[in-house]
């Protein structure tokens, strides 16, 4: 089955969180893959929570389908399945960039760190400190500082002091990065960096709200359908 672990569990692996109580999966939308996911959910005795129903159409439009497991080994575990995310590429690209880990002898495919960060730029307040920690972990755990890695930090760091530090350490790379906060960092203006980062955050949150607006309307209609017995 082709699916990628994302959300909180992936954040644990990359250092942005210490704990997550659910499982978020990104699924390849192909018929055979959907069937395999259906079988796996069946083995976990997972029942769907609320709306929408599990199906290719709703997943392709960007909805998440929520399940709760009843099988002994995973009783109560909540699984959220998605197949499209705002701000990231198609599944084939995400798959090509994935990270593979081994846990208890089994390989697990994770969304890459960069894709995870893009996916985390949501309207939810609680995602933003996680992004900050994900990039901080990358910075502090790096054994080397090649241009790609430095560019990544300069594009994604959300810690003003660290962004100033990286711009100071690598001014040549910073000069080639198109980001207002980096320009402010190169000028040594901490207050401007803070303001730029906050503006980025507000823009992303607004973009995410806009992305979800039509989907929320659909969800509301689905919920009303259930409420009126049509569902």
């Amino acid at each position: 089955m082709r699916c990628l672990l994302m959300g909180g569990q992936a954040c644990v692996f990359y250092g942005g969180a210490e704990f997550s109580r659910d499982l978020d999966l990104m699924l390849l939308l192909e018929e055979s893959n959907l069937e395999r996911m259906g079988q796996a959910l069946g083995e976990l005795q997972a029942s769907r929570i609320a709306v929408p129903e599990f199906g290719a159409d709703v997943l392709a439009r960007g909805h998440a389908v929520h399940f709760r497991c009843e099988a002994e080994a995973a009783r109560g575990l909540r699984i959220d399945v998605m197949a499209a995310l705002r701000g990231v590429g198609p599944f084939s690209e995400l798959w090509a960039r994935r990270t593979v880990i081994e846990a208890e002898g089994e390989p697990i495919d994770l969304l890459s760190l960069e894709d995870l960060i893009r996916a985390k730029k949501t309207q939810r307040e609680k995602d933003w400190p996680v992004i900050r920690r994900l990039v901080e972990t990358s910075y502090y755990s790096a054994e080397r500082s090649d241009v790609d890695r430095v560019s990544f930090w300069l594009r994604e760091l959300r810690t003003p002091e660290l962004l100033m530090e990286v711009a100071r350490r690598f001014p040549d790379v910073a000069g080639g990065v198109s980001r207002r906060a980096v320009e402010s960092a190169l000028r040594g203006d901490l207050e401007a960096v803070e303001a730029d980062l906050e503006q980025e955050r507000q823009q992303e949150r607004a973009a995410d709200r806009n992305y979800w607006a039509p989907l929320l309307k659909e969800l509301e209609q689905m919920r009303r359908g259930i409420g009126s017995g049509g569902g």
Binding site: G16, R21, R133, E165
Partner: protein
Amino acid sequence: MREMERRILAADLVGEEWAEWYAMTPQQRWEESAKLWQTYLALGGSLEPEPDPDSPFFDEAEWRALSADGRAGVRVLRRGGV
């Protein structure tokens, strides 16, 4: 690439606990988180998501129904859960 000497330490930025977390390998973080998971469940922690009105997935009616089941409101043992 040119490097300047003054660097911010992780512990100064985020405190000792998070600095330790950052310093672990991904595999170590995974294993430590699994231990937290076991402890959390042993203490009766709920696997239902916390109410998050910011989330597009948040359904107030569903949350009310879930929170009426009387399960213990145990919280994450270490900060920073997603």
